[in-house]
């Protein structure tokens, strides 16, 4: 890892070689080293105020995956076991252009005051290689209100 980056509410570790493309109060974008074919793997951390429980946050994320990505395939929704707040781990894919497809590993937490989303994406055929990085990002996510 090469440091951390985050919003006002949550932060993530930056994997070695990854680049911080954007950092604001509400959103952070990190991307894998350039040179990946077809699609540059990346992760987007966003936070928004909401007291709603994790079941609401998760249901909304599932609905958004379908609503925002025509042709999306919902693969899984699991309880994300680590962390101080209840969370979910979602996996879905969606087609891009004529030939490409993106796989999204989305982690969602409900802190009681905020919903925190970590959306990690890569080409589906790269998922095997990138999944360890995505898991590290999720496992390393921390929340400012816990400090």
């Amino acid at each position: 890892m090469s440091g951390r980056t985050g919003t006002a509410v949550a932060s993530i570790p930056v994997p070695e070689g990854w680049e911080v493309l954007e950092q604001t109060e509400h959103r952070v974008i990190v991307a894998a080293p350039t040179g990946s074919p077809a699609f540059r793997a990346n992760a987007v951390l966003t936070t928004l105020p909401s007291p709603a429980p994790i079941t609401d946050a998760s249901s909304a994320a599932l609905a958004n995956a379908v609503g925002e990505h025509p042709g999306a395939l919902l693969v899984s929704c699991d309880v994300w076991p680590s962390g101080a707040h209840p969370g979910r781990s979602l996996l879905f894919t969606y087609p891009v252009g004529e030939e490409s497809e993106v796989a999204v590993q989305q982690y969602v937490w409900a802190t009681g005051r905020h919903h925190v989303h970590l959306v990690a994406s890569c080409a589906t055929y790269q998922l095997e290689g990138h999944e360890p990085f995505f898991l590290d990002l999720a496992a390393g996510t921390t929340f400012a209100e816990d400090a």
């Binding site: 429980p53 079941t55 395939l73 919902l74 781990s89 490409s100 497809e101 589906t124 055929y125 095997e128």
Partner: protein, 258 residues
Amino acid sequence: MTTDEQASTWAGEPLEDLAGLTGGRGEQRDGPVVPDAALDLVARADRRGRVPRDASGSPEAQALRAAGLLDDGRALTPFGHAVRDHWRAGVTFLEAHARGERPGRLTAWPSSRSLLVAASAGADESPVPAGHVRLGVVPTSRFVSYLAAWAGVRPAWSFDLGPWEVPRADYEARLSPSADAPPEPPPGTGERAARLWREPWTEIVTVTPQSSLRFVVAGTAGALRVDVRDDLVALAVLPPRLLFLTLVTQTGAAVQGR
């Protein structure tokens, strides 16, 4: 938002009702639907791509014309040629066989950066009549999602379960289509396993030149890895995420020939 009361009890926290999810079943499937016998006629075309003269007026030939594989005469179209060439080459990228609630088969042949796919009815939402297959060209980079949708992979709560063993005869009986209510699980089956047992079962075997994978999709309740051992069958919960990743690995290995 509704909750899955049973899963919530087992998890010790409220869980969403994933069985009620609608949408998110992948790309709309398109491509011509042809009878199995019509594909056999394609394979019988001569070196120049002409089907036998005595078959050019047959229902199979009509079906091929309607599907765009045969011209107005008895010559294969470019798409028909592609189908015939793959069919004859006999080199498959992946075959999938399904039996149980939704029997069917899927064959994918390699074709440059895409795969030519012939798929009978699957667990997806685009019906294919019995005795027919849908032909399509699927980019290799999208094939695993196509396969997962066909197999009925979908979100489901997974609880650590297994492996547990059932007699082979019970397993086979469970896969046999029945108009009656689902069979009761074998005596001694735990509550969580029983939830899976009572769902409609489809066993799917995916085979590539490098490997094979056998699993059961239990309706909306999840999936099971299946390991047949003589007179016993070992079953273990296979969370959809892990199932999908396994399919990614299997198809990735097939792409690379490893």
